[in-house]
């Protein structure tokens, strides 16, 4: 089969990207709208869960997301029982953490509600009779709960980014070496350049998985 020369054109790639992004955003918009309707038609925990689903379908600059966060904060304040209030705040915090990408949307809200959650957890622990705790233990438990809430278990964002892009880099470099360097007439220049690029990416990758 005669080899076809690849015609590099940015236009179709750009169109493809626009289509994919539009499709992905449309899906998010569609589901956010669906869940916000459910939220508006519900009360109590069902309302909380519906707003949670709105946040979980978040997309950047979505007015529905900020509305859901605002409404959830309002709802959480409305609960009087400790377990209900805790459920509400934990739901809000968890849904926001789940939409974290290379940045954390609504970071200020998480910081604001962490102490409230720590307080509710501490109160709940003291109220659990079999724990044999008193109000004197409050400060100690509160600090420990807050430390748990503020702890970030995710690997370093920077090293994670370096890891995944270096992986793509070294795999691509090897494919480049093979496809361009080992044609019928071996091209040593491509092999050398490709292997150098490979080594750089590979070292970055190793550092990434170690330090992430």
């Amino acid at each position: 089969m005669p080899e076809k020369k690849l015609s590099y054109s940015l236009k179709p790639i750009l169109l493809l990207l626009i289509f994919i992004v539009t499709a992905l955003l449309t899906r998010q918009f569609f589901y956010q709208q669906k869940h916000i309707k459910e939220a508006n038609a519900s009360i109590g925990f069902e309302k909380i869960k519906a707003f949670e689903r709105v946040i979980l379908n978040h997309f950047p600059l979505s007015p529905y997301s900020s509305n859901a966060v605002y409404e959830l904060l309002k709802e959480c304040e409305g609960f009087s029982e400790i377990d209900e209030k805790l459920y509400c705040y934990e739901t809000l915090r968890s849904s926001l953490i789940q939409i974290k990408s290379f940045y954390q949307p609504y970071d200020d809200t998480i910081k604001k509600i962490n102490p409230k959650i720590a307080q509710l957890r501490t109160e709940s622990m003291i109220l659990w009779k079999d724990n044999n705790l008193t109000n004197e233990d409050f400060e100690r438990i509160y600090i420990a709960q807050l430390a748990l809430l503020n702890y970030n278990n995710a690997p370093s964002q920077l090293w994670s980014v370096i890891t995944v892009f270096s992986l793509i880099g070294w795999i691509s470099a090897i494919i480049f070496v093979i496809m361009k360097g080992f044609t019928k007439n071996q091209n040593r220049r491509y092999v050398l350049i490709g292997m150098l690029i490979y080594l750089v990416f590979f070292l970055f990758w190793l550092c990434g998985i170690y330090f992430a």
Partner: protein
């Protein structure tokens, strides 16, 4: 072979078909947390950790890349991987079939649509697993094999194959079966092939280096799905799946292929999957495909036949040689996912057969023109059916089950889970979502094990304050404080059976000291049960709209929670009674479950919910139910 210029209409139609399939998958995706391994794979990806053996470093790092997308939630983002890779797999199917049928690109579209809407391919696309990635690399190797046969041996193709096989060690090991057909292609060009072997081995090794992810992340104490207590397993044990003992990679291949035992079952089971996905009638065209390829190129026929044989009967002999007894284990776990490459090759043969048939009736102009169109339209009919019966877009079941499970527990209590669905769901919600991270979550890999995976209770320095008893291995004190909960009820074979008793509560069991349960304790659990109701979400168990048997299974556990709640309410006026004496299955263990409920006005609502959930989630509704 010369390719004819494609008609612009056909090109546009093909692009349109791919767009339709992409949107079909996108809008069918699970919104957050699919059942099965997905929860664990998402967690491992987010934490840049190690999934169950062989660790899947390629998928984990791809998953991490997708978690950076700025929309949706982390679970959904990782689930986008199979969606994109399925489309790429279909593009490869298109290209391979186009090479084989030459004249017209309407035939490749038949292969794409048949595979794209087939049950197993669709199901694997929308549940966040790595099998579409596996299929893509397998098909790349198939394409390379065809290209080598077509245009002569070039060492770079040998190197590329070797490198891709090396990379495949970072995915599911079944894909390595492609080594056999590629080796046979190499034999066609014996001398050149032998000369290319040293560098091929080097490139295989370079691809294999992807597994350094496992080695380094393991010594860094990153998330590891199979870590027991604080042990650090050997890298090679993870890679060779030694954790599974009898399921260890090399042992399972050598032991199952050394006898003919179960071979008949393997054939029957595989044919069952073919029928479920494409219908037996398509086998006529599949056979015709052999004739067509025999005429076209015997080498291609041999290469594709051996590839198909490896991913169908040989793989079935290794993994699928038992009798089909139920619809939850073998069919969905083995049948559905492992055979995706076989199904890809099946549609290639089938489409070649359709092409062969259509060429034979060339003189009958009407049929010649309409038959290909018929085969294009036929699979399209399945799109709405798959979407409404199998689609996962409304499946929040495991997410709300896991969330409900944690929500019902007291602050800073211990929860042990067993089984993929329960453990992986809680891993996701707790380690990715950080929901109720005050709970120390422990996972056991065998029902009777007491050596826990403690990923859900890390770092120790933060949890030690709350669980000093636990870290002193003093479970008794935790039980006395009513802070020890488990999804496992105790049966005689469990080592805790002699020390503890359990009472079912919501979605879990509360542990009590042996033979010391008082009336006060029962009252306490009854109160808890009634309080638990608000945290459980029955809606999605009555509305998930999917025929996934693992979702059914989770919902049946949700239904049991309503029995527990109903049993905690003593009605003033009794309408009737409900007695259940059954067993709950944990792998090979059957734990007795008995409940007696007096039904009255106060609790009949829960009994109704129990019945409705059971009915909606009946096993028989699963698509592959035998």
């Amino acid at each position: 072979m010369k390719q004819q210029a494609e008609s612009p209409v056909i090109i546009l139609f093909s692009i349109f078909a791919f767009i339709i399939l992409f949107l079909f998958y996108l809008f069918s995706l699970n919104p957050i947390l699919p059942t099965g391994d997905a929860g664990e794979l998402i967690t491992a990806s987010y934490l840049l950790g190690i999934a169950h053996p062989p660790g899947y470093p390629l998928y984990t790092e791809l998953g991490k890349l997708f978690t950076f997308l700025p929309f949706g939630n982390i679970g959904y983002r990782v689930s986008l991987i199979p969606c994109f890779f399925s489309i790429l797999t279909l593009i490869l199917i298109y290209l391979i079939t186009r090479i084989l049928t030459i004249k017209n690109s309407i035939f490749p579209l038949i292969a794409v649509l048949f595979l794209g809407v087939s049950y197993s391919f669709y199901f694997q696309t929308i549940i966040g697993k790595f099998y579409p990635v596996n299929a893509l690399i397998v098909l790349l190797l198939v394409l390379i094999g065809i290209k080598v046969i077509d245009s002569g041996f070039e060492k770079r193709y040998a190197y590329l194959s070797a490198f891709l096989l090396g990379i495949l060690t970072g995915l599911h090991h079944t894909a390595l079966l492609m080594t056999v057909p590629l080796f046979i292609v190499g034999l066609f060009y014996f001398k050149a092939f032998i000369r290319s072997l040293p560098l091929s081995l080097l490139f295989f090794f370079l691809g294999f280096l992807i597994n350094l992810h496992i080695y380094i992340r393991n010594i860094k104490d990153a998330f590891l799905a199979i870590r027991k207590a604080k042990e650090t397993p050997y890298f090679i044990d993870i890679l060779l799946r030694k954790f599974y003992k009898e399921g260890e990679s090399l042992q399972v291949v050598t032991s199952t292929l050394s006898t003919f035992e179960g071979f008949q079952n393997a054939i029957t089971n595989f044919l069952y999957m073919i029928d479920a996905n494409f219908g037996y009638v398509t086998m006529v065209f599949f056979v015709m495909g052999f004739f067509y390829l025999y005429r076209k190129s015997r080498r291609i026929l041999l290469f594709l036949s051996i590839s198909f044989l490896m991913f169908s009967l040989v793989l079935a002999k290794i993994t699928f040689a038992g009798e089909i007894k139920d619809n939850e284990g073998s069919l969905y776990i083995v049948g559905n996912q492992y055979f995706i490459p076989a199904f890809c090759l099946y549609v290639i043969f089938m489409t070649a057969g359709i092409y062969f048939f259509v060429e034979k009736i060339k003189k009958l102009i009407f049929l010649y023109k309409t038959i290909p169109l018929f085969f294009i339209v036929l699979p399209l009919i399945f799109i709405p059916m798959r979407f409404s019966q199998t689609g996962q877009s409304n499946n929040w079941v495991l997410y709300y089950y896991s969330k409900g499970l944690l929500s019902t527990l007291p602050v800073s209590s211990v929860l042990t889970t067993y089984g993929d669905n329960k453990s992986f769901g809680v891993w996701y919600i707790k380690l990715v979502g950080r929901y109720r991270d005050d709970v120390c979550h422990l996972v056991v890999f065998r029902y009777e094990a007491t050596k826990w995976n403690m990923e859900g209770c890390k770092p120790e320095v933060l949890y030690k304050d709350f669980y000093s008893e636990f870290y002193r291995n003093d479970i008794q004190t935790l039980v006395n404080k009513k802070l020890y909960y488990s999804t496992i009820g105790l049966s005689e074979i469990h080592p805790y059976f002699k020390s503890f008793d359990t009472i079912a509560y919501g979605l879990v069991y509360v542990y009590f000291p042996k033979s010391k349960i008082t009336e006060k304790d029962r009252k306490f659990v009854n109160e808890l049960n009634i309080k638990a109701e608000k945290f459980i979400t029955p809606y999605y168990c009555l509305n998930h709209g999917t025929d996934d048997p693992l979702t059914f299974s989770v919902c049946r556990f949700v239904s049991i929670a309503y029995l527990n709640i109903a049993s905690s309410i003593e009605p003033n006026l009794k309408f009737g009674t409900f007695a259940l004496d059954t067993t709950i299955r944990y792998g090979n263990t059957h734990e007795p479950f008995r409940v007696n409920i007096n039904i009255g006005k106060e609790n009949e609502h829960y009994m109704e919910l129990y019945e409705k959930i059971r009915k909606y989630n009946a096993r028989e509704k699963a698509f592959l139910f035998p």
